[in-house]
Amino acid sequence: MFAPADKAQADETAQSLAIEEGKQLYSVGCATCHGTDGQGTTDGPSLVGVGAAAVDFQVATGRMPAQQPGAQVPKKKNIYSQAEIDQLAAYIASLGAGPSIPTEEQYGPEGADIAKGGELFRTNCAQCHNFTGKGGALTHGKFAPNLEGVSAKHIYEAMQTGPQNMPSFPDSTLTEQNKKDIIAYLDAVNGEDTVSRGGLELGGIGPVAEGLFGWIFGLGTLIAVAVWVAARTAKAKKS
């Protein structure tokens, strides 16, 4: 009879332990920019209320801790273990309520409507990330990154939390099902097994790449052929 309560008790202890661990990690890696209590400084925004999802996204994709200031903090190699990230997330979540880390059930492929996801992607995402998520330019050196190889969880978290200059798409305007659909669509058109039917994909960035390819390999080859057609045939050596 007491077991559940015990378990809850134990969970709580584990949780507070995680928060404690997280706080230590935080003060080493994050506090310089985000302030000792996550209140933010001129170098980094307040983390109160950003939620565990934001921490998981930022740290697990290597964006945080940021290396150097610039137009945008890019993705890089992550230096924390998942356990450490969870501890950090627990600490930040304890500062104020925010979106929690999504579960496999939320971002997994079951029950997703790929076509609907495509429509949603073209309405909400393609304007920055391109038709199939190859990325694109924003103002003054900022950019929307390529979504190839980004895990479903991180895509979900990005939509939920709106990292850096990306706007957020909270559940109230883009439902959990919508997000699931979008992730399934991305996996279908920009996943590892996506078939580029016509052959070489040329980066999937449209006519600029096609034009370049057509000039170099189309016209280029034809000019090489023309040189052969018009060239003089080897003469017999003069005796």
Partner: protein, 350 residues
């Protein structure tokens, strides 16, 4: 070769003299004439010629085999089958097979023909004479005279009445064709000035098809909306959404610099036309920290925290804002249509 009308200095002067030597002490740069023909290997060596013949035949044979391969691929390969080919990646097997076989079949015909021409057909260079394009003075005079005679016989110069009425008739008759184009489309009237928005129309979330409440729209989020009652299946959907599409963001009221923008917002929720004022692309590359929105087509940049004024790029005026409020049931609603035409500017816009 008639050489009467060719000036002396332009003739291949040295054809008769020895090649490669000064043709004339007075003209060190004189044209030595066509160099003598040199034989190719194939011209002197029958074995080389035979090799060339075999190469040409081989290419034509490869072409035949490739065509057979094309037909076999068409029949044998399932049109949905994909295959991994390095470095192309996962591609459609049928398209790849058909393209390659057709390409080889065609290329080898061409390569065979060209190799044949280059190695076995005579390669003696020949000179063809050119003649001036313009006619000789006699021909010119004759044509002019003929024309004058014809014109005279037609009496067109004397019978002015005929000439003038004929010109009039011929000038007018194309007008019928121009008039016929009238029904290509309706007149513009004020069609570009109005959208589906009107007072009391709810803002419906594009993703969920549900009306939006203020609490749905978080600071830093981006939402797209359409007017209540417009469904994707409607016949007029494309035309209407092209003008009515809405972009909704929420900005801390303190951050809103433009007074009218704040007035027309609801607690910092602002609704702007999604259609760029440059040439009409759906603009929506929203940077939530800077509140800048960028157009993906021509990079016009608007500041949504300052009345959506243009801060970069080719757009000429700010994005129109839709005045919004909340109705009795707590849903976001429009308080009227846009006050100015949405989308690209035009002559009558004013």
């Amino acid at each position: 070769m008639s050489s009467q009308d060719i000036p002396e200095e332009n003739l291949p002067a040295a054809q008769a003299t020895a090649h490669g030597e000064l043709a004339d002490e007075k003209h060190p740069f004189a044209d030595p004439g066509l160099p003598p023909h040199e034989h190719r290997i194939q011209d002197v060596d029958e074995r080389a010629a035979k090799r060339s013949e075999r190469s040409v035949a081989l290419m034509f044979t490869v072409s035949m085999l490739a065509t057979i391969g094309f037909i076999a691929s068409y029949v044998a390969i399932d049109h949905d089958k994909s295959v991994f080919v390095f470095p192309l990646g996962h591609i459609n097997a049928l398209n790849f097979a058909l393209g390659l076989t057709l390409g080889v079949a065609l290329f080898c015909i061409g390569a065979g023909a060209v190799h044949w021409a280059r190695t076995l057909m005579s390669d003696v260079e020949v000179a063809d004479e050119r003649h001036p394009i313009e006619a000789s003075p006699e021909v010119r005079a004759k044509v002019h005279a003929d024309f004058k005679q014809g014109a005279k016989e037609s009496v067109i110069g004397r019978r002015k009445l005929i000439r003038n009425t004929m010109l009039g008739a011929v000038a007018l008759v194309p007008l019928s064709g121009v008039v016929l184009l009238r029904d290509l489309g309706p007149l513009p009237e004020d069609k570009l000035r109005h959208t589906l928005w009107s007072k009391g129309k709810l803002l419906v979330n594009m993703n969920t098809n549900e009306p939006l409440r203020p609490s749905d729209v978080a600071v830093g989020s981006l939402t797209f909306a359409k007017p209540e009652g417009l469904e994707e299946h409607d016949h007029a959907f494309q035309n209407e959404i092209a003008k009515a599409a809405l972009m909704i963001v929420r900005i801390q009221p303190d951050d809103i610099k433009d007074k009218r923008e704040l007035e027309w917002s609801h607690e910092g929720i602002v609704a702007y036309s999604k259609i760029c004022t440059h040439v009409g692309c759906p603009i929506s590359l929203y940077e939530q920290q800077t509140h800048h929105v960028l157009c993906p087509c021509h990079q016009s940049t608007f500041d949504l925290s300052d009345g959506a004024r243009v801060i970069f790029g080719p757009a000429g005026h700010a994005l129109p804002q839709l005045r919004i409020g909340v109705n009795d049931e707590g849903y976001l609603e429009a308080l009227g249509d846009f006050e100015e035409p949405v989308g690209p500017a035009f002559w009558e816009r004013g």
